[in-house]
Symmetry: D2
Subunit: 351 residues, 4 copies
């Protein structure tokens, strides 16, 4: 490797382990403070209520560069402990970052200062704020997606179906055995937890898919985002009581909220999301969805107002505190493994 | 209508008309100020350079609730005057808001204060910050999408293909004649301007599609987001020189930047986006894509650093100033009607 | 001058001229949009109401680096046209920036990118985001304040009294004749408009005062911030009806709101501020004063809720639109020159 | 008390105790994550370096409603353990909130939703975002300041001198014995730690001072903000090596940074601040001081660039983590009690 590139790609991102830090007393103490400490504490309490409520299916949404930032193991621990039952994410978190690390690649501690982005481009180093990625590694990730496409029967897939195939790929290739253990994609594959990426081509997966469709113009894999929406709606119909733990906003937030309305469109009864917590730094004052309050979502009939909390904080700080709080409270004990992937396999059979 | 509902839905949103306000002297004066006035002015100059550069294809991206906020006619005027050649958007702007108004519905001036969202829910009034929507109107919009689905040959469509069908629907139904004139969907249909919505099921369209697929479980329309990505990449290959005018971030920003890399994946030569302007209130400090600097995008090989400008401002204020500046400079004169829809019709034929 | 320094200090900031841009039609059009366009328009309408209400004294507050950013002439035009009757500001705007330019110095167009702040330090160039200042010029400004201190009778002064002496200094030194015309300090001196800087030592003035007191340890000028508060309270008692036009938050916002309570403490009747408009980018979610809503200020009995508006925008963009709107509406016609400095000269005589 | 008022003022804010939560392992783990987790961790490490460096005087600055939000005991513990040697603050934190609680009053857990601020006004309940205050209690606080004024020799005082008298008042009145133990004002009085409030009249103290000066028009206490600046400069000259721990921005941030320049103005050698950490949610993009980077401060010759860190987070979450990290590392062991109040008593004698 180019020596300058080697110099810049030295120290790797390490994922925080919520199991190692019992934050319960501190988060409880924050409940009687003010501002975002109090909001964070209430958010943690509501996420814990979702765990205590054994009827409640928990949807985790991921937007922003969370996995590259050291939050991968937080998600993996939530999945392993049956604390989340379905995931809705942007593509980058699942493909470019989680699947990428499952292939054995790493994210590097970089800097946003004193660095010339044109030099990085010449070195094929991609920058996410203060984090570096080796673009040559990422191209291998793109290619791997392309290979998976080529190996599949040509037909429309939901992103969930495709991501499950990515999990199967990791599972069936022992060369990834040491990396996949802490992979969201692989853990969800094992646990039957569906992962939806409603804008699936908007990430490394897109590059693989474009390559596949370009070279297979008539018969090819396609990604049906409508099928995603139908499938996640079926999950809601199957398990009506639900709670949302949303990291960031964007498409995943909107998508998971909309399923309540989708049930109504299908003339099926389904309650609003009973619990909802969002961690975000987005502002409500530009009217965009990411920062819109959960009270506003109530006007749309999507989220109930009793147990909802916006937590205005950056996810790398707030998510370990909220997830770790619920983990150490231990309320996940007795929660069933819901295996919604298996459920969808059954209901997807045309009636 | 319920009298309370009628009381709340009185005054309608009116779209600003950039043609009526010559902001050139003011925006020029901002060039020698500081902070965001200077940035906005430089952004306007760069958007004007895109107009002057007759080789340059201009991609407009839309994220946030822009159309409901009164910016519809800004987009329509850019399309009518050949100032943008392709659009990438979130679904809400195109379906729930633009197509919705093309059906004859309106957005209402509401308030974020002193209103109880549970009362709004009971009245079937949806709230976007300070704007109200009649949910009953929106359900008709959902249904209309469902009807369009039912009328199409069952196969995978790119969102662009589907949205063109929405334009055709407006064009062929004279009852919409008085509303469609100022519709983005219809104007783009007439002008051959492609509209891509990479997360197409994440909006009112999703409800129509879910209804369609639920009732047509084996043979149905699907939305192939990979095809979207391939098509927009083909646009870039057809017209290599390009500029970006991005309103908000999110999926549309990422998607349009990624096409440079997609060309490379296909082993085709294509330059980075030569010009790029983004209006956003997102912050770079959480590492998310929406607020990431355009310099950072250069490290990824997506955007060149010479003519790029982040404008930190809310879109309802900044977009009319930047679009209006370029419009009144008149540099769009002589820009060709690129009709990328027609181009895609040709290249989409398998080689 | 060092050639590198000369290279960096080439182009000067030019102040925007609201008189040259009739923004009335555009700001009126923003009233029926959403989000911050609508808020800005309503803010402009309320500022115009203050002009129409001939009983209303208008307080302008300034926080942030506004004068260096090209907003000096906006303030000067408001003063010249009797559109503001008193100013409360941070020290930097009044001393380091306005008085500094009145001495003949300039602010320079700089950049926040690709510049090493340690190099700037070595060159004695100070940076404010994207603006450069010659520290050697600033030292002359500091010294000038020191000279004014030395020339005054040793006693406690309100910042208002001291700033009036700065105006007198400019008025009596013809070498500043060409620069002072567009100086806030000098225009306010001529028009009898009081300027309060509640944290007066927290700026270039502080350096002059420290030098003065260090060298005059027993008998010296002091700055009595309590006297400031008493004086501005007397202004409110003299002219009970009042409106606030606040650019940024900080000490000036708090100070001017508090005078309603101060009247009450003195057992005098005085109404809440009847009108209030604040332009700010501060967030309410950290509980700090700068971003706190004007509705919150009502709970404190400081601001009435009928005609108040927060405008979430950066000042260099929003202030010219709001000030320019009121200017071009012409409602300032018939507003009296209130000359509160003269009023204070009388009431300051002990009863 | 009015029953509705009683209903709203039920639960009191409890201050978090950093001694009870060993956050060292978690904050260390954040060092290899990204974004603000990494920045927070680095900020904590730098604050710990200030503790390890026994030559370094540590200045704590406070802006925002921190004390009412539950951070009082964090500051008290830093003072008790010789971890900060001087404080610069806004007035509200020191007078309306800390001194107020030392008089036996409390802050109440309130809400920002579903509450009508005009009702609060009628009930004499003041709101800070989600926190309530009994205005009747606050009036007693104002009066107490007035009494202290009346008891002092009429002359100009620095805010530091006045606040020390507030500490003496608490010390000499045994009725406050149970409350003062956790008072910043009283602890600093006992430990000789100076507290500077550069805009001292901009808070509850202002009301007391206005009342005092109104009723004592010719001979009265005045607050000399220039003396504040001179005194804090003398602290820097006495202990040249220094570090800054800044919570929020505003006047305190600017004031403490400026003392390096003030030393230079007095033609004394003094190094830049060697260490600097700021917790803030302010944005740099409006060019205001609060959000300006510490690198920018280097161009002004105020802060060195080697050990500086901006932490973009809300203080109620981040301050306990950073302060608690340093506390549990134990590096404060061996730090001297610097008693700068005693030093100033000596140097304030005219040379």
């Amino acid at each position: 490797m180019n020596p300058r590139k080697q110099e810049l790609l030295q120290k790797t991102i390490q994922h925080i382990d919520i199991k190692a830090h019992n934050v319960v007393p501190m988060v409880d103490a924050m409940a009687t403070m003010a501002f975002q400490a109090r909001n964070l504490s209430r958010g943690a309490h509501i996420f814990n209520m979702m765990q205590e409520d054994k009827e409640c299916a928990v949807f985790l949404t991921l937007a922003g560069s969370l996995i590259s930032a050291g939050l991968k193991n937080v998600v993996v621990d939530l999945v392993k402990n049956n604390m989340v039952d379905a995931i809705v994410s942007t593509g980058a978190n699942i493909v470019d970052q989680d699947f990428f690390e499952a292939l054995g690649f790493k994210h590097y501690i970089g800097t946003q200062y004193g660095i010339d982005d044109t030099e990085l481009r010449d070195l094929m180093i991609d920058r996410i704020y203060d984090t570096f990625i080796d673009e040559e590694d990422l191209r291998i990730c793109d290619d791997t997606i392309g290979q998976i496409c080529n190996s599949l029967e040509p037909r429309p897939y939901s992103s969930r179906e495709f991501i499950r195939e990515m999990g199967r790929f990791l599972d069936e290739n022992d060369k990834y055995a040491e990396f996949r253990e802490n992979s969201i994609v692989w853990q969800c594959y094992k646990k039957g937890v569906p992962i939806f990426v409603p804008a699936f081509s908007d990430c490394s997966a897109g590059f693989g898919l474009v390559h596949h469709q370009w070279h297979n113009p008539t018969k090819h894999v396609s990604i049906d985002s409508a099928k995603d929406f139908l499938e996640i709606t079926k999950v809601k119909l199957h398990n009506p009581e639900s709670g949302l733990f949303m990291i960031g906003g964007g498409v995943p937030k909107n998508f998971v909220q909309d399923i309540v309305v989708a049930c109504d469109i299908l003339e099926k009864e389904a309650p609003m999301h009973k619990y909802a917590v969002q961690i975000t730094v987005a502002d409500e004052r530009d009217g965009a969805l990411s920062g819109s309050t959960l009270k506003e979502a109530c006007s749309w009939g999507k989220v109930d107002v009793v147990y909802e909390q916006m937590v205005w904080a950056e996810a790398t700080i707030a998510m370990p505190l909220i997830a770790g709080y619920a983990y150490h409270k231990g309320s996940q004990a007795g929660r069933p493994e819901r295996r919604f992937n298996d459920v969808l396999d059954k209901v997807n059979v045309p009636a």
